[in-house]
């Protein structure tokens, strides 16, 4: 039995993590520049003492920070003392912990320690990290937090035993095959997001690169150059995505306890994040055409605070499991029978025509070439996609507000109306002229908007949602 009431320090290894965090806060690109500056700059011989002294200072500061950081659990309050010069005292009632993530990064794995991230409130940034503690301590902390929440739930909520929190049911578990399918069918450009920071870093000290960028000779360009480059980029992106998904979502598992959901995944660094089911505000799914062929979808469970659960590559049965866990029936049971006014097709086409027309005119004037008119193809494309969007858009209002749409990719979103934090009915000039309006249900974690519906209908939806939020006594967070 681990007694959390004793004031504890983290493992001394936390010094390393604290130092690394400080370095990371300075910024990787900036660090690279500093290192380049030190190696190639005026620092030589005796001046090398300066960076050495800085490193020493960093070590000392991190060590003091580690020594001053203690935590203990007294009377169901988690008390954290920290601060190098100041004495900061953080008190968090344990039943107010919204999510508690236990992670194991590479360095943790070697040493058998874990990192705990505690998120306390949605509206504030009240969050702190315990960098390195033994796994049993973290598990005890997690157990206490979950137990506190169960005990906190209204009496007779169907949850009898706090001990039940230990019996978690596996809802989703991805094997290698599924992960491979998920990675390959993910949006073909998704892999390129990895390149973002890389390109930024290159840009930072691109001047230092020794090679001149290869210049493209106009004569060398043949007809297959452009499609070839696109193909190579796509293949590259798919490979990157494969790597990303395998690193991030390896062994993706979603488990449900009586009051909480827990997602674990990761190859090198294992991430575990848990969130209480009551705090789930919004569930959305997305599916691109490739995924449709494979019968897979990406699901995001949005919760108050940082406990959002992102699940890639779920099949229909998985989605039903996740929905059941947050208290909803299968998606096919949603009526999703209401539509929106087609006026949006005209509006979008008109606006696009104006913008693109001006752009084409300007381009034509600048280049003096009739080819500028080519950009006008955007107009029929916009017309076609909006028309498809309007035709396939469905929504419904039951005890949840739900919407689904499909142009090429499809997406759905659903929120329980009693969790509404606010409702807005709005009318643009265009909508007003046609007696139309938009209604937006805002939760504490994202919102759902239905546009281009009759004003009377929007107001009725608002009245139903507000009534539910004010009379339904089920917990909303």
């Amino acid at each position: 039995m681990i007694d959390l009431a004793v004031e504890r320090r983290q493992s001394p290894l936390a010094v390393v993590f604290l130092a690394l965090r400080t370095l990371r806060n300075i910024g990787l690109a900036q660090l690279a520049i500093i290192i380049l500056f030190v190696v190639r700059g005026p620092f030589g011989g005796p001046l090398l003492v300066v960076p050495a002294l800085l490193m020493l200072a960093l070590g000392i500061v991190s060590a003091v920070a580690w020594w001053r950081y203690t935590f203990q659990l007294i009377d169901d309050e988690l008390i954290v003392h920290k601060g190098i010069l100041r004495d900061d005292r953080l008190t968090v009632p344990i039943d107010r912990i919204q999510s508690l993530a236990v992670e194991q990064e590479l360095l943790h794995r070697i040493t058998g320690l874990v990192k705990v991230q505690v998120d306390t409130a949605g509206s504030s940034d009240a969050e702190f990290t315990i960098d390195a503690i033994p796994r049993p301590v973290a598990e005890e902390l997690e157990r206490r937090a979950v137990t506190a929440r169960v005990a906190d739930a209204p009496a007779g909520d169907g949850v009898d035993e706090p001990a039940m929190s230990n019996t978690e049911r596996t809802l989703v578990h991805h094997d290698t095959n599924r992960l491979l399918t998920a990675a390959v069918t993910a949006s073909p450009l998704a892999g390129l997001v990895v390149l973002g920071p890389l390109l930024a870093a290159l840009g930072q000290f691109g001047d230092d690169l020794p090679v001149d960028p290869p210049s493209v000779e106009a004569d060398g360009v043949t007809w297959w150059w452009a499609p070839g480059a696109v193909l190579v980029a796509l293949a590259f992106s798919v490979l990157l995505n494969l790597g990303r998904v395998f690193l991030q979502d390896w062994d993706l598992t979603l488990r449900a306890g009586p009051t909480s959901l827990r997602r674990t995944s990761g190859l090198l660094s294992r991430t575990s994040s848990a969130s209480s089911i009551d705090r789930v505000q919004l569930v959305s799914t997305a599916q691109n055409p490739l995924q449709r062929q494979a019968g897979l979808r990406d699901v995001e469970v949005s919760t108050i605070g940082d406990g959002d659960l992102e699940l890639v590559g779920l099949d229909d049965a998985d989605v039903d499991e996740v929905r059941a866990a947050v208290g909803w029936g299968p998606e096919r049971h949603l009526p999703l029978d209401r539509r929106v006014h087609p006026a949006e097709i005209w509006l979008a086409t008109r606006n696009t025509t104006i913008v693109v027309g001006i752009a084409a005119g300007a381009l034509g004037l600048v280049t003096g070439s009739g080819w500028a008119a080519v950009v006008l193809v955007v107009v029929p494309w916009k017309w076609w996609t909006t028309r498809r969007h309007v035709r396939n858009f469905r929504w419904s209002l039951t005890d949840a507000l739900a919407r689904t749409e499909r142009v090429l990719s499809s997406a759905t979103a659903q929120a329980a109306i009693h969790k509404a934090n606010g409702v807005v009915v709005s009318q643009t000039i265009f909508e007003r002229r046609r007696g139309l309006a938009s209604v937006r249900l805002a939760t504490a974690a994202g919102s759902i908007r239905i546009g281009m519906i009759p004003l009377g209908e929007a107001e009725a939806v608002r009245d139903v949602i507000v009534h539910a939020a004010e009379t339904d006594r089920r917990p909303w967070m």
Binding site: R89, T120, G156, N421, T428, A442, T443, V464, R473
Partner: protein, 194 residues
Amino acid sequence: MVAFSNDPIPVDQLPRLRDDDFVAVDPRYLRGWLAGLALAAVVAVAVGSVVAAFVDQPLIPAAIAAVVLLGLAVAATLWVMELRRLGYQIREHDLSLRSGVIRHSVETLPFARVQHVNVTRGPVERLLGLATLDVSSAGPDITIPGLSEAEAARIKALVTERAGALEDDPHDDARDDACDDAHGDDPDVADDAS
């Protein structure tokens, strides 16, 4: 199970948010804005005439001043229209704000979701005896400008009291403490009151 029923309620029997129940904000708010715009117009004319007196082509500063005056006139018109629409409505369980000239909008925020209420008074507002009320939830916020000080304080007290009464969770004061402490930890997170 918690006693919870979910019988369908015909929509036409639900309490409606009626358009004529909105309360306008203090007229001093509009007057203040108009006075500000008038002041800007005077400054524009003054600067325009001074510059025109000293340059070779007096038409250019005159034209610029005219454009500025036109802009101010449009702004004044929009403000008059905006203030004609701007209004709030307090019901038993929620607070609504009607606003917007170009884009009409009616926001509604149930008291049970209110996280905190703030009254702010800028220097000009102090001069006019006005205040701005900020009502925040975990999701959207509602900001009502141009209330008289007494009115703002009254609504703030009402909302706080209603939000407290509707909260059936006995631990709620504990949560506020946690937030305060956590805020205190981070000097970068400025208090919303600023």
